[in-house]
């Protein structure tokens, strides 16, 4: 689809984006992203088409597939209002550790889907010595058993922990901003946005790939959604997982409605137009927010990575459904590269 010469005013941002992002490779600014997020429904197909063209030109046609698993679930001391794993809320999620043989089994199963990434996640403020030792042991056992890139998400790190993870071969570290700086205190009170940034910057400085994501649909305004995309773009992460709120029982956001599917698709297009070269991954909540049809539209609208199968505490689409869709869309799965 091309943008016609006689454009409605609301489409002008797409003509600008075509030149600025697609042709020149420069992401949209925060103000421009507000315009994308405010596009009317009839402009959405054109926005998604443009985001898809940007993805193909600047990232290629490959789709990166990842599996994630929780090594330590529940009992987190932090109060992230969206999270069922906080020990501060009356959530039905019980604290539990996954043992190493089960973790290795999960890594093998993930690799068998064609995934190249396996992310080990713990619900903690930051890792203690016990958890770091468990992670080292887990990494060694996984590396003995299966050929897959290992990522970690263990909360806020010290410089020593960053260096340890790098030395152990962790090639990517996940630490989400989750929401805009201006909205962060509405969502988390037990740590600051700046503390999150500090870990992100240490990870990048150490030479690990930074995976830094967003969770949208938590009551933030369109302007704050644009602010988040711009703040992520400024961080230049290798990957941005895009989550949509799945309101969890017992959390402060349990009564927040599920965000509108079209708003979610506008956000996908906007994030791609903000970050033309970043791996933009479908993450949690898409099943509820977008359903099967929306999953397809997102993959044709700027997304170039998926989490396969289940999430940390909730269930995703069957892995076969996503993998079949990639075949149908003629999108090859990215092959394994062990080196950075």
């Amino acid at each position: 689809m091309t943008i016609q010469a006689n454009l409605p005013t609301s489409y002008e941002i797409l003509a600008t984006a075509r030149k600025q992002v697609l042709e020149e490779g420069r992401g949209l600014t925060q103000e421009q992203l507000v315009d994308v997020l405010s596009l009317p429904d009839d402009a959405l197909p054109a926005a998604l088409q443009l985001a898809h063209e940007v993805r193909l030109r600047h990232c290629g046609e490959d789709v990166e597939v990842e599996g994630i698993v929780s090594i330590k679930t529940g009992g987190c001391p932090e109060d992230c209002h969206f999270c069922s794993q906080s020990g501060l809320f009356d959530s039905p999620v019980r604290g539990v550790w996954l043992d190493i043989p089960e973790l290795v089994k999960a890594a093998k199963e993930t690799a068998a889907t064609g995934a190249t990434e396996f992310c080990i996640v713990a619900a903690v403020r930051g890792p203690d010595i016990k958890l770091m030792n468990q992670i080292k042991f887990a990494i060694d056992r996984i590396n003995e058993a299966v050929d897959i890139n290992i990522a970690c998400s263990l909360g806020m790190l010290t410089q020593r922990q960053v260096d340890q993870l790098k030395d152990w071969g962790v090639h990517r570290y996940n630490h989400n901003l989750e929401t805009a700086r201006s909205y962060f205190a509405e969502v988390v009170t037990t740590h600051s946005y700046e503390e999150r940034l500090e870990t992100c910057n240490m990870v990048k400085a150490a030479g690990m790939e930074l995976c830094c994501g967003a969770l949208i649909g938590m009551g933030e305004s369109l302007e704050q959604r644009a602010e988040l995309a711009a703040q992520l773009a400024a961080l230049e992460p290798h990957e941005v997982p895009l989550n949509f709120l799945n309101p969890r029982p017992g959390t402060p956001l349990e009564n927040q409605g599920i965000m509108d599917g079209k708003d979610a698709l506008r956000a996908i297009a906007a994030f791609r137009l903000a970050m033309p070269r970043t791996v933009l991954r479908y993450a949690g909540g898409r099943e509820l927010t977008l359903g099967d049809l929306g999953t397809r539209e997102g993959l044709l609208g700027g997304i170039n990575a998926v989490i396969v199968g289940n999430y940390l505490t909730t269930l995703g689409r069957p892995a076969t459904a996503d993998l079949s869709l990639l075949v149908e869309l003629n999108m090859p799965i990215k092959e394994l590269q062990k080196s950075l």
Binding site: V69, T73, R94, V96, P249, L288
Partner: protein, 81 residues
């Protein structure tokens, strides 16, 4: 039933269930969708494992992996996908 671990289907037999696996409240079985208080719970269970034992409403230990899940009740065993 003993406290030993046993495997169950993830499909909960509502005829023998006493509690909802999603919210833990008593499951009256419902006369039909329009009067069923757990209709939304059953929709939710499409997207998450049961958190409460349907026999005794204990909170279960749930482990989710990319391609499966288990929910373990200390009294009634393990539900697996």
């Amino acid at each position: 039933m003993s406290a030993g671990v046993s495997a169950h289907s993830d499909r909960i037999d509502r005829a023998t269930s006493s509690f909802c696996g999603h919210c833990g409240e008593p499951d009256d079985g419902g006369a039909g969708p329009a009067s069923d208080p757990h209709l939304r719970c059953r929709e939710q269970l499409e997207f998450e494992p049961p958190r409460y034992c349907t026999h005794c409403r204990r909170r279960m230990k749930v482990q989710v992996t990319p391609l499966g899940w288990t929910s373990q009740c200390t009294r009634h065993g393990v539900f697996v996908q």
